[in-house]
């Protein structure tokens, strides 16, 4: 019978060391990595017949829009829901993302990314939610560009693949793209300087090393480097040269 061999990097708890375990499940067409994990957890026995604990992982939408199931598959970061077994090299190697605290097995804690969103003021300062009529008129072309940035699901692929991102020393492409998203909006632009301040700190935009892996691994095809370079321009114009206006 055809089988699929899966290697999973396990960690029982945050302070325990990591180790590999090998599993084998029957092959079926159209399996994705999530369904392999589901199969394994039903009866967690390693390939060599050892009873073990079921692997833990994060999953939700399984349509690559929630971003939660991101992991490192065969060395590359991606969503496990859209990783089809038929398209992967065997044996399949599953590891948790390496740039975030590892909670257990394939689960990591990405809350630092949400903290970054707070830092960059990634929202529009509404006067209130009562009915004030429609928002500002916008050019469809600008809307399309904002839509591209607005698709970011905070999955962390860009940070995982970034050679500059480690130990949270760099705010990273996702937050910078959100600055771009809101600074492009007529109401959002009113808080431009607060957002720029958020990306001009010691872990700010200048830590970008232009390796451009972010834009290559982004599952939503967000033009992340464009956002970074737009913000380079904004930080130079408003941040570095702003005093010349005064």
């Amino acid at each position: 019978m055809n089988t699929v061999e899966i290697h999973i990097k396990r960690r029982p708890s945050p302070d325990a060391p990591q180790h590999w375990e090998v599993f084998e499940i029957p092959y079926r067409p159209n399996l994705n990595v999530i369904s392999c994990l589901m199969e394994i957890r039903k009866n967690p026995v390693t390939k060599s017949g050892q009873q073990t604990t079921p692997p833990s992982w994060d999953m939700n939408c399984l349509e690559q829009v929630c971003g939660i199931c991101t992991m490192v598959i065969n060395g590359r970061v991606r969503q496990s829901c859209s990783a089809l077994v038929d398209n992967l090299d065997k044996p399949i190697k599953l590891e948790p993302m390496t740039k975030f605290p590892n909670i257990r097995d394939l689960i990591v804690d990405r809350s630092q990314m949400f903290d970054h969103l707070k830092r960059v003021h990634a929202w529009i300062e509404l006067d209130g939610t009562h009915d004030l009529g429609p928002g500002p008129r916008m050019d469809q072309e600008d809307v399309m560009e904002r839509y591209a940035y607005s698709r970011c699901m905070t999955c962390g692929c860009c940070l995982e693949a970034c050679p500059q991102y480690d130990e949270d020393h760099y705010i990273g492409p996702q937050a910078i793209a959100q600055v771009r998203l809101f600074n492009m909006h007529p109401s959002g632009a009113m808080d431009r300087e607060e957002r720029l301040q958020g990306i001009m700190g010691d872990d700010g935009i200048t830590n970008c090393g232009n390796a451009q892996n972010c834009v290559k691994v982004c599952p939503m095809n967000i033009p992340l480097t464009k956002a970074i370079y737009e913000e380079n321009r904004e930080t130079v114009l408003y941040g570095l040269l702003g005093w010349l206006k005064k």
């Binding site: 060395g75 590359r76 693949a161 050679p163 500059q164 991102y165 480690d166 020393h169 300087e193 607060e194 720029l196 301040q197 001009m200 700190g201 010691d202 872990d203 700010g204 200048t206 830590n207 970008c208 090393g209 232009n210 390796a211 451009q212 892996n213 290559k216 691994v217 033009p223 480097t225 464009k226 970074i228 370079y229 737009e230 913000e231 380079n232 321009r233 904004e234 930080t235 130079v236 114009l237 408003y238 941040g239 570095l240 702003g242 005093w243």
Partner: protein
């Protein structure tokens, strides 16, 4: 609100800026002077003399070259230490450029140290002992003597290549880091331009080096 500039922001912007100005400009000038060797020792020595006769040359050298150079080199090493290269799993061109920029940076750190001690001060034990700046009339001969040693010449070819790479890619980096180049197409086009410029600069640099051991440079015997 007024934007507060963080230390890192200022240091990085300075690092990006010094790479182009004055260091990039200086490199062009340096290659220009070196290329004087193509037309013979006298022209080269005269060019060195002209440089040495710049008013306030000491301040120009210290403020315009040594301080920016040391800053760019040392802070560059700090940046390099932060790098976590991952080229094997993410083997994209720009990711390789990222790593090579840092590798060439390290090469340059040692090469330029060697080069300055070797020619500007003549302080490398076992090699040249005369400072070019103080023996203007013998400039060409000093260089030619060193270059005739094959290992030294190889070191210089590697050094020149690394320098040219570092500058050509550095120009591209400067363009994006200062928000001059933004979109994908612009990134691609400026990329090609930088490659072309780098190849041209490499040819000029290597040819000038050859001119010290082969009169007229690579094409010398045909001219």
């Amino acid at each position: 609100m007024a934007i507060r500039l963080s230390r890192t922001f200022i240091l990085r912007k300075l690092h990006q800026l010094t790479g182009i100005m004055p260091l990039g400009i200086f490199l062009l000038e340096h290659f220009y002077t070196n290329s004087k060797a193509l037309t013979g020792p006298a022209d080269f020595n005269n060019a060195v003399r002209d440089l040495q006769s710049i008013p306030y040359i000491l301040f120009v050298e210290i403020g315009g070259i040594f301080i920016p150079l040391i800053y760019h080199a040392v802070y560059g090493l700090v940046i390099t230490v932060e790098a976590r290269p991952n080229n094997l799993y993410y083997p994209y061109a720009r990711n390789w450029f990222y790593t090579i920029q840092r590798v060439t940076g390290i090469i340059l750190f040692f090469f330029i140290t060697f080069h300055v001690l070797n020619f500007r001060f003549g302080l490398i034990p076992g090699l040249n002992t005369m400072s070019v700046a103080h023996h203007v009339d013998q400039s060409f001969d000093i260089v030619a003597r060193e270059f005739k040693m094959v290992p030294i010449f190889i070191v210089y070819v590697i050094g020149i290549t690394a320098t040219v790479w570092h500058l050509a890619n550095g120009i591209w980096l400067f363009l994006v880091d200062w928000g001059i180049t933004i979109g994908e197409r612009a990134q691609r086009l400026t990329g090609y331009a930088c490659i072309a410029f780098g190849l041209f600069l490499l040819a000029v640099g290597i040819n000038a080096a050859i001119a010290f051991i082969h009169p007229g440079g690579l094409l010398g015997k045909f001219m």
